[in-house]
Amino acid sequence: MLVAVSGALARKEPAIPTTAARPKQVALVRVNVTGQGYDYFRPWQKKAPFSKRALGAVLPKGRVLVTADLVTNQNYVELERAESGEKTAANVRVIDYEANLALLEPAEKSFLDGITPLEITSDTVVGDRLAAWQLEPTGALLATEGLVTTVQMMPYPIDVGQFLTYRVSIPMQYRENSYTVPLVKNNKLAGLLLRYDSRSQLLDAIPAPVITHFLREADSQNYRGFPSAGFSFFPTRDPALREFAGEKGKRGVYITNVEAGTPATRAGLKVGDIVTAVGNHDIDENGNYTDPLYGKIEFTNLLTAHAYAGDVVPFHLERDGKPMQLNLTLEHHDTKNYVSPPYNLDEPPRYYVLGGMIFQELSRQYLKEWGPNWQREAPQRLVYMDHFQSELFPDRNRRVVILSQVLPANSTIGYDDLAYLTVKRVNGKEIKSLGDLAEAVKQPVEGFIKIETEEDPKQIELDASQVAAEAPALQENYGISSLQRLQ
């Protein structure tokens, strides 16, 4: 067996299959996480604790790379040396939920001493063989080889945009701590397991270019996240559409939507524009450019893995048949700027309890409380509002406040069945956030709090003094620690 392989050695002998180059001291640690999710149905409390066991890839500068999913809602993260079982607490230094990556740092700096960190290789292409590194209970390395079958843009679990993904055909075996599994090429980190389907034996991996992007951002003072441009597009395969849009000679994609307040709007991109090139890369009618490494791949790769927030990217387009150039200054699309945020993690949900009525803001996190099939099982009207939020609320500068449920109490008698109603006005004041609602309820009209809803019954009245008098009993009865959380 070879002694720990240095990066230089591996570069010299790329022909050696990974399994043969098995290092003695693998750059892996076990990561044990205990966490608690927030309970969106009982927003004042947390759910029962869960624990997850995974592997982390040891990187230079004493850092450990894992998926964001692993350490989301964590209370306690612990690193464990594979061979000795030695443990230490760890902190989450940077987390990016959209790219599903997180960096951990051991509390004890010397904890990772003696482990040669993994270098990162970004040259993986279709046809390469990657080894999935897992640990046997003894701490020995279990390496399984697979073939990279596809490199393409795919949605990540959070489902905000698409990211570059490696698809690997690989017969993975179950081991404890298989939650996060590094994929290695010539003893260098090539990717991190994103999801695995044991039936088709297909593994999707977060590829090195995305990891590199994340690490580079993480090194800067202020982590900004992956950039976005703020438009949607449609391929122009249809010659009739191309002709209608005035496309001349060059192919490209048809812009179908430009979201308010995004780089695309600021740069002046318009619906109906045909984007023919981004930077130096021509875009074909399917929306692909020719990548030197991967060949044809969707051009959004140029705006995620290849670009950083703050970058200025020239867009070449045709508008009414005339060529134009627009410069988009990319930026990260903060979840706070959504009407219904796509995710709220590691932060408690906002809510307001008023005499047994629970008010919350619509968010995808709330809808996901209905489980993996939330799109079909959650209240369909709310799913509709979340899905079409940019169309329904084009000015964006608001939240949707919902009366999510009613806890039976004296002040809410007869209202017990109300649920999932969107609040329009309270005491005559328009409600665009939970903060608005908290303010408006303080000003009852002639002793009544009047709540107007978009849906039937359209109006609900409460006796303000009764609500106030009943509050302590309500808290006691239903174990509500606090009647509101507005941050």
Binding site: F41, R42, S232, F234, R237, D238, P239, A240, L241, E243, F244, A245, Y254, T256, N257, W370, G371, Q375, R376, E377, P379, Q380, R381, V383, Y384, H387, F388, S390, E391, S404, Q405, S411, T412, I413, G414, Y415, A419, F448, K450, E455, D456, P457, K458, Q459, I460, E461, L462, D463, Q466
Partner: protein, 537 residues
């Protein structure tokens, strides 16, 4: 009374209620969604009170020679094919029951004879099959009248008389031909509950129905349910065995009588409706706010449908205090003939053109309003339709159809936007802007539409800059098309662009390749009339 669509609760009905007609499969569930809901409330089975039922000691009173009134109806029907609407549709055959009433008429369920092409009836002790015709059909309350032209058919037949609403726990007997049998079958049970129920035949109408514990199975449909020698109901629907057992429903005599009275002028005018939604007024603070005295009366008007009779008369926030002089309790009940019933029952017993008088409270001031009743049209898309040909326009291999329950079920779509437009068609007054919600429902592949698959399921908004409100307007826009057609769909997405000349050259090709007999049908013509016209030619 119309059922207002609200997601979640609806699925339960679609999944579980089945027709009691042999040969007709249960309506497909709207969506593969089980009745259990995850949500803030952990689902637990509703608490069921255990009520001991006295076992009848004496046998039920004989109902007389029901054989002399009962007929076995065999109907061959053609159900339209919404996915290929130019086709005649699929052939079905079903058996149901019916019974003779005065005037040499046979009463049965609408779903036994809906979409029929040929009906025969048989009677006990007679080997002949007699061709029959549907005289009147009321799909909104699942009743129909059938006549037999053959002379002497009704000779020796005994017309049955109607009773009233049987008492709870009293014994009733159901007659019919369940599970394909040729001989009459009798089952008995007791009256379990009298309440408003969804009539699944239309899937949008709710009327009074009586739940009985007698076994009702496919083939019982349309058969009489008897007590003391009188008809007290028509067996019509139940649950499939895996959902609930010993739960069957019959149409009670008030609904039957109303149907007979409605047709006495020679046509069926359907149920009128107030076309409002309302909320119970059980919250003391809300009652005080609205200025109600503490007498447990009144319901709150939530929405008023603009296409309905209450538009401009009632408005959201009004409190309904009494209807035709019957005080409305805060839980929406009135007392009618000594029985408590939902206040809509007052409207239920009325006819098109009748008026209803409401005492209301508006801005704390009392008022009396009179509403002339009719049936608002937008509900029709949310229910099943029968004896009509599906409307569609086929252009360039693109099939455009107006959104309806039948169409949604045929395509079993889970499209969020389509489902929203369907469910909120009335409550969000979508029908005012889109009387027809025109969906590009299907594409017959051809070289001229090879790139158009992504548009499937989209809703047409405008053609060449002109808003399209109805299927007729779409058809006209296509007929008057300039060289290029630009069809905008609702929502984000590029326009669908068609070259008229290319469409014209592809027309015959597509028609031949897919055996399309007719490129459009704009009118909902009763299929039976089409058949009759065909016979004359």
């Amino acid at each position: 009374m119309k059922r207002i669509f609200l997601s979640g609760y609806v699925a339960l009905f679609f999944a579980s209620l089945a027709y009691a007609q042999e040969g007709t499969p249960a309506p497909p569930p709207m969506e593969p969604q089980g009745p259990q809901r995850t949500g803030p409330w952990k689902s637990s089975p509703p608490a069921q009170e255990v009520v001991p039922v006295p076992v009848p000691i004496a046998p039920p009173k004989p109902n007389g020679p029901v054989q002399k009134s009962l007929v076995r109806i065999t109907a061959t029907s053609v159900d339209p094919d919404y996915k290929a609407p130019w086709n005649a549709g699929s052939l079905q055959r079903g058996v149901g029951a019916g019974f003779v009433i005065n005037g040499n008429r046979i009463m049965t369920n609408a779903h036994v004879v809906a979409n029929n092409r040929y009906i025969t009836v048989e009677r006990d002790g007679d080997p002949n099959k007699y061709p029959a015709q549907v005289q009147f059909i009321a799909n909104d309350c699942d009743l129909a009248l059938v006549t037999v032209p053959a002379k002497d058919f009704f000779k020796n037949m005994v017309p049955l008389k109607f009773g009233g609403i049987p008492a709870l726990e009293s014994t009733v007997s159901a007659y019919g031909y369940p599970i394909g049998g040729e001989r009459m079958s009798v089952t008995t049970g007791i009256v379990s509950r009298v309440d408003f129920q969804l009539y699944t035949h239309s899937s949008v109408d709710q009327h009074l129905a009586i739940q009985i514990s007698a076994q009702i199975n496919p083939g019982n449909s349309g058969g009489p349910v008897m007590q003391d020698g009188k008809v007290v109901g028509v067996a019509f629907q139940g649950y499939s065995g895996d959902v609930a057992q010993g739960v069957a429903y019959m149409i009670p005599t008030p609904v039957m009588n109303r149907f007979l009275k409605d047709i006495s002028n020679g046509q069926y005018d359907e149920y009128p409706d107030l076309a409002i939604t309302y909320a119970k007024l059980q919250n003391p603070a809300q009652r005080k706010y609205l200025g109600l005295v503490d007498d447990d009366r009144g319901v709150l008007v939530s929405s008023v449908v603009a296409a309905g009779p209450s538009d401009g008369i009632l408005r959201s926030g009004d409190v309904l205090l009494s209807i035709d002089g019957h005080p409305i309790a805060s839980d929406s009940n009135v007392e009618l003939d000594g029985e408590r019933a939902q206040f809509e029952e007052v409207v239920e017993r009325k006819f098109k053109g009748d008026s209803v008088k409401l005492d209301i409270l508006r801005d704390k001031g009392p008022m009396t309003v009179t509403i002339k009743l009719f049936k608002p049209w937008p509900y029709s898309i949310q229910g099943h339709t029968y004896d009509v040909r599906p409307r569609y326009v086929l252009y360039g291999g693109l099939l455009f159809q107006p959104l309806s329950l039948d169409m949604l079920e045929a395509y079993r779509t889970s499209d969020l936007r389509l489902r929203h437009f369907f469910e909120y068609f009335i409550l969000e007054q979508i029908y005012l802007v889109h009387p027809d919600v025109i969906v590009l429902s299907n594409i017959l592949p051809d070289p001229i539409n090879s790139y158009l698959t992504p548009y499937k399921g989209a809703i047409v908004d405008e053609v060449n800059g002109k808003k399209i409100r109805t299927l007729d307007e779409l058809s006209q826009a296509f007929a008057q098309a300039p060289e290029r057609l630009v069809i905008r769909m609702i929502g984000d997405g590029p326009p669908l662009v068609l070259d008229r000349n290319k469409v014209e050259t592809a027309r015959e090709r597509i028609k031949t390749r897919y055996n399309v007999l007719k490129e459009q049908n704009l009118e909902e013509r009763p299929a039976s009339r089409i058949a009759a016209a065909g016979e004359k030619n």
